[in-house]
């Protein structure tokens, strides 16, 4: 299941979208998210869909691939759609089923809100697919730097994020190994009642936590002996370079927002 998850995965590439500064991508995504809420009719939603299609093309990804990633939020999408169909009133009555009515306004709002959700999921997926986790962490660290003034430990949080990201595959492998080891000892994870299945996971989680703690301790020692003493006096190997195309991307997003405000 974890392999089919598109959300949060990174696909290396060298498209123009890949090459954008992660900070520019992060800001652009936030701007787009705001812009999505400006859309209120077919024209404005149409423009946003067009924009997403263009971005997908520029990122050299296939839109089908991205739509596949929506499976994870499919239930949420269907739920939202039907909530609006049944609960939003207004316009002409389309179906009168006695104790419920479906009215035209409800259908239209349902479609719009669903499109809005799809757009939001796709734009964030687009960002994570084209930006490596470590670049994103760097971007977050840089963008959150002002928070240091109010004593938020930005560097430490970023360091924690990057180490956590690095350990995800390691711990996945470990979980796999423990599950196999426990299966070999007669544990069953796929059968039985919900309660017994949850109980069967306890012998997986305890060794996993034990080893995670041990790893954390060894990691801390390894970092300490390599001279890590927090942020003070540290330099950075990875360098984020803001280029003209990054400024352009942000200006484009602002223009998109203004355009939608004007059209609505």
């Amino acid at each position: 299941m974890l392999n089919s998850m598109l959300l949060g995965r990174y696909i290396p590439g060298n498209s123009i979208v890949h090459q954008l500064d992660p900070r520019a991508k992060l800001i652009s995504v936030i701007l787009f998210m705001i812009t999505v809420f400006f859309a209120n009719d077919w024209l404005t939603y149409g423009i946003l869909i067009l924009f997403i299609l263009l971005m997908t093309k520029l990122a050299k990804l296939s839109i089908i691939f991205l739509l596949n990633g929506l499976k994870l939020v499919l239930i949420l999408l269907i739920f939202t759609f039907f909530m609006h169909i049944f609960l939003t009133k207004g316009g002409s009555v389309l179906i009168d089923g006695g104790f419920f009515t479906i009215e035209s306004e409800g259908v239209i709002t349902g479609i719009f809100i669903t499109i809005r959700l799809i757009l939001l999921v796709i734009i964030t997926t687009l960002m994570t697919l084209t930006t490596s986790p470590i670049e994103l962490t760097d971007a977050i660290e840089k963008l959150c730097k002002p928070l240091k003034a109010i004593k938020v430990p930005v560097h430490e949080i970023a360091m924690m994020m990057s180490i956590s990201l690095r350990f995800i595959p390691t711990l996945m492998d470990e979980t796999d190994k423990i599950i196999k080891a426990q299966s070999a000892r007669g544990s069953t994870f796929m059968t039985g009642s919900l309660k017994s299945r949850i109980q069967a996971l306890i012998p997986v989680f305890i060794p996993l936590f034990m080893s995670a703690f041990k790893r954390a301790e060894e990691m801390a020692i390894a970092m300490e002996v390599r001279g890590y003493q927090g942020e003070a006096g540290r330099t950075h190997y990875r360098l984020l370079k803001w280029q003209r195309r990054d400024t352009i991307s942000i200006i484009l997003l602002i223009m998109l927002g203004v355009l939608l405000l004007w059209l609505r």
Binding site: S132, P133, I134, S162, I163, L165, R166, P169, T170, D173, K214, R215, E218, M219, I221, A222, M223, E224, V225, R226, G227, Y228, Q229, G233, R234, T235, H236, Y237, R238, L239
Partner: protein, 262 residues
């Protein structure tokens, strides 16, 4: 380079000594192997030298300077260490990030970092893997990166704490070959900690530890003169020595010499 004077350490008050009055010195440029079975105190020794375990008795001198709480960060710069588990010492998100991590901590300018990183990765033959993520590397490759991370710091002493014990025979040979090359090229002092007698063939000096004490000290030929003591320390003699003992006079022989003599 490093001098230990009457070093004593207990993990808990009611337990036996983890280190029992250890006095020894490690010469500059030497390759010293510290060998002992599990629980003999060899890893504890390293942790104390690095200033990680602090509640010890006795003195440690690094380059003539006494190790204290105040100067441990400073003195640590003389050392770099490669630990046992390749996964738990990989800090960076990619190979080059990991090598640069220690340099970042030193506050080194970026140009110099890039130069040193490339140089260190070249020495261990991992230049082509620069952008790889750790989970795409084999155990041996990860350990090579760990060595690169260590030598990028240009330490005077390189400590390897059971660095090969989680590797397959191929990865193990790989690491040993790289160390030989480094020792020859850079003249780095090496402290090689292991429980495997087959891995000590390149050492200038061997220290055998058992139950927290040094039981034997000398060059390879010397320690093999006392096979009973090695066996008492729960060490398994390499097959070359078993054959030498059974068929020849029991003197130290390498694989090639054994073949010749037979």
């Amino acid at each position: 380079m490093i001098e230990l004077n009457n070093l004593t350490f207990k993990y808990r008050e009611d337990e036996a000594y983890a280190l029992d009055h250890i006095s020894i010195s490690f010469k500059k440029g030497d390759w010293t192997s510290i060998i002992g079975h599990n629980g003999s105190g060899k890893s504890t020794l390293v942790k104390i030298i690095m200033g990680i375990n602090e509640s010890y008795d006795g003195d440690i001198f690094v380059d003539g300077e006494k190790l204290t709480e105040d100067n441990k960060h400073q003195l640590r710069k003389h050392f770099a260490i490669v630990f046992q588990n390749p996964d738990n010492q990989f800090v960076g998100a990619t190979v080059e990030d990991d090598v640069a991590f220690g340099l970042e901590n030193l506050g080194m300018p970026r140009d110099e970092m890039i130069e040193r990183t490339n140089y260190a990765l070249g020495l261990v033959g991992m230049s082509d893997f620069k952008n790889h993520e750790p989970h795409r590397l084999s155990g041996g490759q990860k350990q090579r990166v760990a060595i690169a991370s260590a030598i990028a710091l240009q330490p005077e002493v390189l400590i390897l704490d059971e660095s090969t014990s989680m590797l397959d025979p191929e990865g193990r040979q790989d690491v040993l070959n790289i160390l030989k090359k480094l020792h020859g090229q850079l003249d780095t002092t090496i402290l090689y900690i292991t429980h495997d007698l087959t891995e000590i063939s390149s050492s200038d000096k061997v220290v055998v530890m058992n139950k927290g004490a040094i039981v034997l000290e000398g060059d390879i030929e010397e320690i093999y003169k006392n096979k009973t003591l090695l066996r008492q320390s729960n060490l398994k003699l390499p097959y070359t020595m078993v054959i030498s003992e059974a068929l020849l006079n029991g003197e130290y022989v390498t694989h090639e010499e054994l073949v010749d003599k037979l």
